[in-house]
Symmetry: C2
Subunit: 207 residues, 2 copies
């Protein structure tokens, strides 16, 4: 059927120019989302802001949804980067030290780009991207659970799956709500208090 094209696909084709185009498009999408909201983020406008034509846009992103998904992925990857390194750093620490670090990281992760985070949380209809977000959630659960397994001796008898679920949900919610409540809750003093309290709750619960 599909015979091999007589001319091999170009080698480093997807580079210099096109890579820049893709980046510009994702960046423009994020900018518009933050500055004007989801409703204003039409494909035409995104292309305009990116300094790219709509046609080119559709060469790299099959739909508007794909563009938004790319922004979400980029943001999630930033967050997951923090979380992953924190969890490896913490692997050999006792629960109380580890919990404190993880809580702190959770808040910091949500602070990476609060405005974008807010838009993604509040304005983007999660349609199809759900799978991606769920994947991130599952990864976090798995990582935390693995850590907890390695520290079982410090803990009381407890169903690890349930404990992980409760702890991760709680920490994530505190971080999330803190950031969404606006800058007034993000003073250094307040953050420290919240880290203290959340850590205390989680550690007290686990052992």
């Amino acid at each position: 059927m599909a015979r091999t094209p007589p001319t091999k696909p170009r080698k480093n084709a997807l580079q210099a120019r096109s890579r820049a185009t893709v980046d510009a498009l994702v960046e423009a999408t994020a900018r518009i989302l933050v500055r004007e909201g989801f409703e204003k983020a039409s494909t035409n406008r995104i292309a305009e802001i990116a300094g790219v034509s709509v046609g080119s846009l559709y060469q790299y992103f099959p739909s508007k949804e794909a563009l938004v998904a790319a922004v979400i992925d980029r943001h999630n990857e930033e967050i997951m980067g923090l979380v992953r390194t924190a969890l490896t750093e913490v692997a050999d620490l006792p629960i109380d030290k580890a919990a404190r670090k993880l809580v702190r990281v959770a808040i910091e992760a949500h602070r990476i780009d609060p405005k974008l985070h807010r838009v993604l949380a509040e304005q983007i209809p999660r349609t199809g991207q759900l799978k991606d977000v769920e994947a991130f959630n599952r990864e976090v659960q798995t990582l935390v659970r693995t850590y907890l397994e390695s520290r079982r001796k410090e803990m009381r008898k407890i169903d690890l799956a349930v404990a992980t679920f409760v702890c991760v949900s709680s920490i994530e919610a505190v971080a999330h709500n803190t950031v969404l409540n606006g800058p007034e809750m993000l003073s250094e003093k307040m953050v420290r208090t919240l880290v203290d309290e959340t850590t205390r709750m989680v550690v007290g619960y686990l052992r």
Copy 2:
């Protein structure tokens, strides 16, 4: 400028017929949201499902957003009903009994209409309705905080505002995630476990 219209507004005008129309519209909106998702919920379609004309729709709801807001309000009111009565029932109970009841109610509240809850949480861009949702959140915080104040002697020294924030966020998150994770997490056994664990965490934290 605007002189009083020579004919006074009718007395019990907004009744029998029109009340039914309004109800049909809100109900139809909720049905479409649950069964077909937010994207399919056009005003034309809502009117069609409600067995009402678009014209009539716009006599009672100035915009599509208003319709969705009505659905959200109705749902939130159901939830707040449960929460309010639970909190009055609990007013004279010690913290451990109270916490258990509140955690249970939180999960039950989210279970009222899980599919609708999911759509509202995942698909509806919160634009403008934010104020309403925030109002509900604040009410819950206030009610819980008032309860905790009355039980301060059972608790350790602690900033009540922070404690309330952490506890409410956590309980809400566990309930929310439990329901969103689908029916498999809603077995009676699982719910009981989750209530036990969350209660334990919160109570241990408060005292």
